[in-house]
Symmetry: C2
Subunit: 348 residues, 2 copies
């Protein structure tokens, strides 16, 4: 099998990549968490594009929920296009970029530093311009990512953010729970055959919605991005709260809906959404660790349960990456080289 | 014509509604702008759902660009689901809701007040729970909105935000330029026949992308929402920056792309995107006040030019509302009663 080799290999590298990140970057993350505790930021600004932007949205929920500090997801064009200089004294700016070479994210980071923010680059490349522009660097230790579709660097970004947040919030149990991630992700990789079978049933879809809420809204966005990029499926991510505010109207009989439901605060709401979608005749693919949710699905992928809802996006990302991979192959695409995409995007 | 009566009538009421807002709410907005100047907030948090959330995104660009204060678009479930209490001392929280009755937005506002923020409700109903929960109320004066699809309350929200921002930033020319809006919107309504002809050519599309950047990214999001809600078209809004970061791969020959391009900072970038989309064979519908942009389009709607890019979303919204209206009728839908939608959404 030559097609899809890089994407598949990188999906399967995740348990080792995450173990390496915890091991090699743990002490640096602890230092940054102590800095947070000594001088908590009044605001966190997160900047990213593409898959990294979905990791940033996860970071937004995590930081607001665990640390109760407001988070702004940056609109880089406020600076790059309109030349505004935001007042960021006392703020922490975190930029996420696998390559560290997206010019507008680098420009955002330089602007944030000049505006008085403390800056952290989360990147896979210590020599990239983003790393040089930042006060501190968190390295992903994911190894080279050759597939255009980001997989192991996405879950590494989630892990860097969740470990930083848990340490800064002094949530000992959550800090320790990170050690279970490599094993949980390895178990999630064991779903490979099931995912392939499910993909066979969904191989002809032209569109779908991916639905979740809270922490896993980021997972829904990332799944939709992967399905669009690697499979040319018109996938739209929706928060289940927004789903009721309009889009549910356009979901009719046979329309595919991917429901991503971890154990936790969002689960009762998502179970109710699954019921409503089934009543409308939608084909509901449930990706969940909850047997109640899985029973409501048309097709079900039973994912390992994370020790905390805050770590469930790391685990649930895996079957969704496998789904995008298998669907791409079944639909005749090379998942490593989506049409018209490059690894580093140069925004005009 | 009974079908579409409310939506059409409310679209055509916009010049008077905006004139009334400027007249009747101007003094209150000036008072709030003085309060801003006396004690600038360190952070602005905007909370909304649906069309109001698109107005909030416009407000985000406006406040960051004109006032250089960072803005966070609230994720209400951080509070309603996870019970986090964000630290909002010194912040200004603005909640936008036409009805003032979305329970999670009301709950967000109450939480923001308890967390130390100054709170402003932007609503059409002075007696709604949202108005009662806020320190200050900005009334839209739009009159009753009977169509489920928000039109006049959306442009009224834009106007309330732009006038507040311009006054707080002491941008006299921009403040005065608001007086031109009713006339510009009336001229935009004069496009009705052209829009109907264009709609005839696009009546059979099943999907499209709506594309813009900067101030008018909100316009692109609102256009996509209207096309989904009233016409059941699978419309996706994309920032032209993000378009290059992946989705352009799935835009092939004949695929419809709505390009929303005002005069201003984003224009050169959008013109380049139009060239690329045409090279890919996309059907590009240009909605613009720039003759350079219109020349690159497959179909063109020449909109009146706003005196400032910051006011262009108010004017460009009008032809896009008309487009959604005409497409709904041509496709056999009642634009006043989209399938499965209610005017006030009760998020679980």
């Amino acid at each position: 099998m030559t097609r899809g080799t890089f994407m598949r290999r990188e999906i399967f590298e995740q348990p080792q990549a995450i173990a390496r990140l915890l091991d090699e970057e743990g002490p640096k993350i602890r230092t940054l968490a102590r800095r947070w505790q000594a001088k908590p930021p009044r605001l966190v600004v997160l900047a990213a594009r593409g898959s990294s932007d979905n990791a940033a949205l996860y970071g937004r929920y995590l930081i607001e929920i665990l640390l109760e500090v407001p988070v702004s997801l940056a609109a880089p064009s406020v600076r790059t296009l309109y030349k505004a200089r935001l007042r960021l004294d006392g703020a922490l700016a975190i930029a996420l970029s696998q390559s560290g070479r997206s010019p507008d994210i680098v420009e955002f980071m330089r602007g944030a530093a000049r505006a008085g923010a403390h800056t952290i680059a989360v990147t896979n490349d210590p020599h990239a311009p983003l790393a040089r522009a930042a006060d501190d660097v968190l390295l992903l230790h994911a190894g080279p990512e050759r597939s255009v579709a980001a997989t192991k660097t996405y879950t590494a970004q989630l892990t860097a953010l969740s470990l930083l947040g848990a340490m800064a919030a002094r949530r000992r149990l959550l800090v320790d729970a990170h050690q279970a991630l490599p094993d949980l992700m390895a178990r999630a990789l064991g779903l490979d055959d099931n995912v392939r079978q499910v993909a066979t049933r969904y191989r002809k879809i032209t569109g779908c919605v991916t639905v979740s809420r809270g922490y896993n809204f980021a997972t829904a966005l990332e799944a939709a991005l992967k399905l669009r990029e690697t499979c040319s499926i018109g996938a739209e991510a929706l928060s289940s709260a927004d789903l009721l505010h309009g889009p549910i109207a356009s979901i009719g009989r046979g329309f595919p809906a991917l429901l991503i439901a971890a154990q936790g605060r969002a689960l009762p709401h998502l179970i109710e959404i699954m019921r409503r979608l089934r009543r409308r005749g939608a084909r509901v693919l449930g990706i969940s660790s909850s047997s109640r949710a899985l029973k409501l699905a048309t097709s079900a992928l039973a994912a390992p349960e994370a020790p905390d809802e805050a770590l469930s996006p790391h685990v649930l990302a895996v079957p969704l990456q496998l789904l995008a991979y298998h669907l791409a192959l079944l639909r005749g695409f090379d998942p490593d080289r989506p049409r018209g995409l490059r690894k580093v995007t140069r925004v005009l």
